[in-house]
Amino acid sequence: MDISSFPILSLIIFLPLAGALVIALIPRRNLAAIRGTALLFALATWVASLWLVLGFLPGRDVVASAAGSFQFVEAVDWIPHFGIQYKVGADGLSVALVVLTTTLSWISILASFSPIRERVKEYMISFLILEVGMLGVFLALDLFLFYIFWEVVLVPMYLIIGIWGGANRIYATIKFVLYTLVGSLLMLVAILATAFTFQAATGSWVGAFDLEKLAGSGFDGTFQLFAFAAFALAFAIKVPMFPFHTWLPDAHVEAPTAGSVILAGVLLKLGAYGFIRFAIPLFPHGAHVFAPLLIALSVIAIIYGAIVALVQPDLKKLIAYSSVSHMGFVTLGIFIFQAQGLQGAILQMVNHGLITGALFLLVGVIYERTHDRTLAKMGGLGAITPVYSAAFGFFVFASVGLPGLAGFVGEFLVFQGAFAFNPWLGVAITFVMIFAAAYLLWMVQRMCFGPVSEFLAGLGHHLTDMRPVEILTLAPLGALTVVLGLYPGLVLDLIAGPVKAVLAAVDPAVAMSIGR
């Protein structure tokens, strides 16, 4: 069977939706069936997404569609009046992020079995719809469709944090929604303006929302500035870049464990993906003009995030701020417009998704037992819960970029790019990161070694080590962390094409600005 003709992408996007519908029909008291169905559909989606990788096996990546490097493209007219299509397609970048999403989704659902006991039905439905939105964003090739999936992500995440979150959840959710909505609505204006500009130039709405048609059409310079600014604002809020990051720590602290995993693992990537897929190819001139600003903000984010993380008493906040720092690497890597930087950025996106996801799972594990996340109260976990401590140590090591684990390669590539871009920049960042790494390792030491803290001792036998299910959720992430650390080529091969394409889109702009 020819895998190019089967609507595999639609299948992947809408399988979770089908799952949500099935769950809607199950009586709410039948918890086992609800949980099982959710996991089943998430796993099925995951399997289907692995099928995508087949399309990008060595030797097949040449079989690209005529329009570009996208495969499995499906295009159906949706609102012909405006040339809006249901158009999805995948390239290596999409595939990497889709697989990341489907993997983290089933892990999150599995990890929610025990902590989520209230309104399980609504929870699972929200989660599966969230997955639909995320997958849609990574696969949409029509700007309008992309925007719709982009907003679809918002609502279930809002509900997940707002209903199953912590004490201060309402404040956190409102902040999350308002930040995101302001950015995305301005992006909507920019999308509509882009489409109209295309329509005015060609005299027809056909293709006005089609990414592949728009990317090559070379918009007027001033227009590019405005449009890029609007897109960039939406994406920068989502990443989040400094100074739009303040919603993130609140959201993380209040979110249930699985919500945090998805938030850190996938949602933050939506912003970076938006830059790479949409903002830069559509408006290369704008991207080039704004790059210095965005680089500066990225550097600030790296340093600021790392430093602020150090003083956080709350484990979740700590990881949240370190995410700000890590995502700073991603945006830095993107906007220095160099092959290594961009490769590193994308790799870092995947790695950060795996590692931070795992870290949030681990925080969830300890929180379920202690109902506390205060770092100062921990100590001597190694003696009580050796497996947990080992896992925690492993993922912190991965997070700080220990060579041989996944975190290292991405950061290293970005460093390389940064050095080439400006050596002083590279040196500054290196120092900060070494400092932060040292601190985090000290944190692991405080938490897991030394005498058992009074607080933990007081819990007595309630403080059990990891259960098999918990190990099962972490094991795939750990395995991938090792595999990608040893053989980053898995991802690098996949994204070689997209990286080339993005840089090719920027190059003329670089040339243009040098020419002036």
Binding site: W78, I79, P80, H81, F82, R119, E122, Y147, I148, E151, V152, L154, V155, Y158, L159, G162, I163, R169, I170, T173, I174, V177, L178, L181, V182, L185, L186, L188, V189, L192, A193, A195, F196
Partner: protein, 491 residues
Amino acid sequence: MTWSDLTVIAPFAAVVVVAALVILADIVKPGNRHLALGVVLAGLAIVGLLTLWTGQAPGTAFGGMYKVDNLTTFLDVIFVAIVALSCLFAPDYLEPRGLPIAEFAAILVFALGGAMLVAASADLLVLFLGLELMVIPGYMLAGYHKRDALSTEGAVKYFLLGSFSSAIFLFGLAYVWGLTGSTRIADVAARVGEIVAGQATLSPGLAMGLAFLTTGVAFKMAAVPFHYWTPDAYQGSPTPVTGYLSVGPKVGAFAVVLRVFAEALLPLRQEWLIVIFVLAALTMTLGNLVALTQDNVKRMLAYSSIAHTGYMLVGLAAYAAGVIGGLEGLLFYGVAYTFMNLGAFAVIAALQKRPGVSSRLETFAGLGRREPVLGILMVLFLLSLTGIPPTAGFFAKAYVILAAVQAGGWLTVLAVIAVLNAAAAAFYYLRVIVYMYMRDPTGEPAPVAHGALLRLGLGITAVMTVILGLFPGLLLPSVSSAAQAIGVAIR
């Protein structure tokens, strides 16, 4: 009057007959709710079919006073839908309060007649009479719960400001008529066109007439700063009436705007564009800001309906700037707004089935658990009102914003104001969701059974809200042809 006059005007005639039949049925069998509802729903179905049938053959009647074009048909179908849905939602609310349904339905159907006349008027006199026939029943409906102090209070305020604005509108109309020498919309447009083309300066009398007309219409559609009757009238009215008032007279007021400004005064569009621009910006912003501070959901939705007027005005401004898409966006918005707003009010009405239940936010606490279906529907309507895809409200907003962007220049600024407002509005819409799903109920009232008609109505509004969001393409051809009916003169 000829036979062809009668066929063209058949839908309006049918409306009057339906109203009369409802009253008659009530006289024959007093207080028989099923009979009254049966008559009115069947009658509305016939009116709807007649509307579609006459819409097949556009034409004029009564010496050109009454005109059926695609816009007329489009608006008429919306009006019929609004009234029919209101009739579906009302019984559950009226019955427990001992309020009769026959009079309610009859008055509502009279209002429908007025709205249809407005949509079909080719003559300013007919338009004014239609407008009155549309709003006067509105005053009565607002006070329909006549033993309730709040209802009558809202009604008296609504009536006084409504009549005041009618007088202003009429004064403006008199001046426009005096200066253009005709009440025929086409003649007025031609005469105004001559004035504009003749490089003659706009005479002071015409300018003043225009100003009065604008003020009058702004009152009717509750644009800021002429909105202050809205909150009291909406909050006080029986909830199904509030739903109707927030949609019917509003779409009707836009029908007036389309016939007066977009058609009769089209040649002067450069002049009124500025006014509409300012009105739109003020209306969106102020409506939203005040809505933010409300903790009564009905009152909050009243202010939010003011904000929605603002979004629709964005479409009108874009049209004035020469983009036909603005008119299309406005019409699409009207349809989307009809279903989502009626739906939201229907949910409130359903919650208030037991007399004494307030519409304050606390009522909604824990609704998601108490009444899961109502909860989900309310979420849907609120998301649509916010403009989150894939709902009708999203595409409607996108449409008017696209038109504003298309018009370019200052209208792009208006588009940005609109989206910032939409983001701010999310705050208060989401707050209702917060109460429904994130707060525990303050005491667990016994569940109420909801009537079949109410459920049917909620189903229709919900399905339409989703379908118009997922497949807006289904409606676009009719929107286009309706806009073409008066928009041919533009570009």
